[in-house]
Amino acid sequence: MSVRSREAAIIAGLLLVTAVFGLVLIPMGIREGYGSSGAGLSPRFMPEIATMGIAVALLFGLVKQLLSVETAAGAEAHPDGVVGHPMRAVIVIAICLFFSLVGFRMAGFYLGGVVMAASLTALLGEREILKVVVFPVLVLIVIYIVFEFGFQIRLPKSGLIASIPV
């Protein structure tokens, strides 16, 4: 796919998302109550203006893209001139979201944090087992000291461990 077609497809996709947001999500997510019909009183005032503005800017971008001169298609290049690896970033994002949604709740922040940091360190190519295990433990010890002793903040503890009837 050429650069121009790809850009145009992305903008069209964003326009579709904006349309769904403006026509479905705003009416669903913001109820207009009694007395909110006067000038400047509607709670939908700013979200609607912002959404319309985004749609207009995207339309402008789409027209500009369609009228622009075709440029050569190229690989997704890294600023340093090497080809990037977006898949690795996607896996890291998935791991982070998993721990924030499930891992920290189940294993607690400290145990979950060690597992998360260790798995990410291994994913990034560290093969020395000592570094993969010891470094995350050291990081979590520092966090424990700073938070629990320094700021008196209790980070989430393991629900799994707490549920064991001992």
Binding site: M28, R31, G40, A50, I54, P136, I143, G150
Partner: protein, 511 residues
């Protein structure tokens, strides 16, 4: 006068001094770690400032920023890895000098220039913001709408990429800023029944997500080999590791000129430190006695961009303190820290509660001195820190950021939001949307919305729009300025279309 003395005494307390020292040390150390940008380092530390007394937390935060600006130049010089886009100009001469083994001299030049530029712009801030605030106090909601629009148009026009991408980013920020309870009617907006969103989206998860997490995700795309880097060797000769008195004296005209460039650039919303650094570098080369040395390790080539980009950091607080409007990401971060501590900057603060403002001024001046002293001690240690492997650093950053996001409200929801914003920021940078503009749109959304709706109510209750505008001379002047700016922006966009590549990244950068 009493307020000034009280303000100074607040920042000179032992606790505040300790806060400044800790802030500078943390800023320099975190800023010097390759991969951690200055903004990223400070964003990670903002939540912690909340757990201190305001007069420890605020000076610490300000000091952290100053420290991180110097710190981020260390990997720029030793590893050719600028910790911030603004340090890219420093690389041009800093890295060649470091390769000759004179890394110590290059770092001392950076430190001297950074502190000089920073102190210069802080003095301009102290002299300029009070005067501007005296004018701003006469502003009503309609004038604020124009002022915010002025800032937003400037930001969009100065974003080197497509202007429509800038507009989309800003308005997306405004939309996110609308989530939560409506400020006038109290109606829940776009919360979809989630009670955690009633207070709106948290500023801290937004800042850490867009500035730190998205940057980590972006850097993780690098090949595994480049995720570990080696530091450069230092010469053992003392003269290669220090800046002599003659060299300092010779640098003074360059420093003064560059600091002025940085201060003027910083006072205007959106221009940013990268632009200032490159203008100052070109100006230094243009006026140099030996321009042929530029690019090969010239001390003037290092001092000029450093003085300019540090001068931006003080001057960009002028619109923040005078009008309550952040001009760039640094000001947005400082605004976040001030709001967390219950201080709302703006013209009313100068009239009703000036002590904190004067305390901020004196803390900033003091932080420059501490930054210099700590920097001198830190330079020999810096070469050890820059050799930390990214494959160890990034997992630690992600876990540390999770703890920071959780700490603010004790909510895992904020951690989830932080990663979601990190993901959005990463996608935005991939598709060349400037994330910094989204953050500024988010921060300005409440001011813009409240002022716009109040203005509409005022117009509704007056004899029409024309009569309303005619009754407000300041508004008429601001409207005129806005119209001139709009014309200039359109002209600039037309000429840019002829000369620049449409696919270029923004000045604000992806992050």
């Amino acid at each position: 006068m009493e307020a000034i003395l009280e303000g100074i005494s607040l920042s000179l307390s032992v606790n505040a001094l300790l806060g400044i020292i800790v802030g500078v040390v943390l800023g320099q150390v975190l800023g010097s770690i390759p991969g951690l940008t200055a903004a990223m380092a400070v964003a990670l530390l903002v939540p912690f400032s909340f757990y201190f007394d305001p007069w420890v937390g605020i000076p610490m935060m300000l000091a952290m920023f100053k420290g991180s600006l110097f710190g981020s130049s260390i990997p720029a010089i030793l590893l050719r890895t600028p910790g911030t886009p603004a340090a890219a100009a420093t690389v041009i001469d800093g890295y060649p000098l470091a390769k000759e083994g004179k890394g110590g001299k290059a770092l001392r030049t950076v430190l001297f220039a950074s502190v000089f530029g920073d102190a210069f712009s802080d003095i301009c801030l102290i002299l300029g913001s009070g005067a501007l605030a005296a004018i701003a106090i006469r502003f009503g909601p309609s004038e604020y709408v124009i002022l915010v629009l002025f800032a937003l148009i400037s930001l969009v026009s100065l974003n080197r990429g497509s202007s429509w991408r800038g507009i989309v980013a800003i308005l997306a920020g405004v939309l996110i800023g609308c989530i939560g309870l409506d400020p006038i009617s109290g109606t829940a907006r776009l919360t979809f029944g989630n009670a955690e969103l009633f207070d709106g989206v948290g500023l801290i998860p937004m800042l850490i997500g867009f500035l730190a997490i998205s940057e980590v995700f972006t850097q993780l795309e690098q090949p595994l080999k480049t995720l570990s880097q080696r530091a450069i060797e230092f010469s053992k000769r003392p003269e290669d590791n220090k800046l002599s008195r003659e060299e300092r004296r010779e640098l003074l005209p360059t420093l003064l000129r560059s600091s002025m460039i940085g201060t003027v650039t910083g006072a205007l919303p959106g221009l940013g430190s990268t632009v200032a650094a490159f203008i100052a570098y070109n100006e230094a080369r243009r006026t140099a006695k030996r321009p042929e040395e530029f690019g090969k390790g010239s001390l003037h080539g290092i001092a000029a961009p450093e003085a300019a980009n540090n001068a931006v950091s003080g001057a960009n607080l002028i619109p923040l303190l005078a009008f309550g409007i952040p001009g760039d990401v640094a000001a947005a971060l400082i605004l976040g820290a001030l709001l967390i501590q219950g201080i709302t900057p703006g013209p009313l603060a100068f009239r009703d509660n000036p002590e904190p403002i004067y305390a901020i001024f004196s803390a900033m001046l003091l932080a420059n001195l501490v930054n210099y002293l700590v920097g001198i001690a830190y330079i020999p240690l810096a070469k050890r820190l820059v050799s930390v492997s990214k494959r160890l650093l990034f997992p630690a950053v992600l876990v540390f950021a999770s703890a920071g996001a959780y700490a603010m409200r004790g909510s895992l929801f904020d951690v989830q939001m932080m990663f979601v914003f990190g993901l959005i920021g990463w996608l935005m940078s991939k598709f060349k949307f400037p994330t910094v503009l989204l953050l500024i749109g988010f921060i300005l959304a409440p001011i813009l919305e409240r002022s716009a709706r109040q203005t509409l109510i005022l117009i509704d209750s007056s004899d029409g729009l024309l009569a309303f505008v005619q009754s407000r001379p300041v508004l008429m002047i601001l409207l005129g300025v806005l119209a001139v700016l709009a014309v200039l922006v359109i002209r600039q966009q037309i000429s840019m279309r002829r000369f620049t590549d449409q696919d270029d990244d923004g000045v604000m950068g992806p992050g």
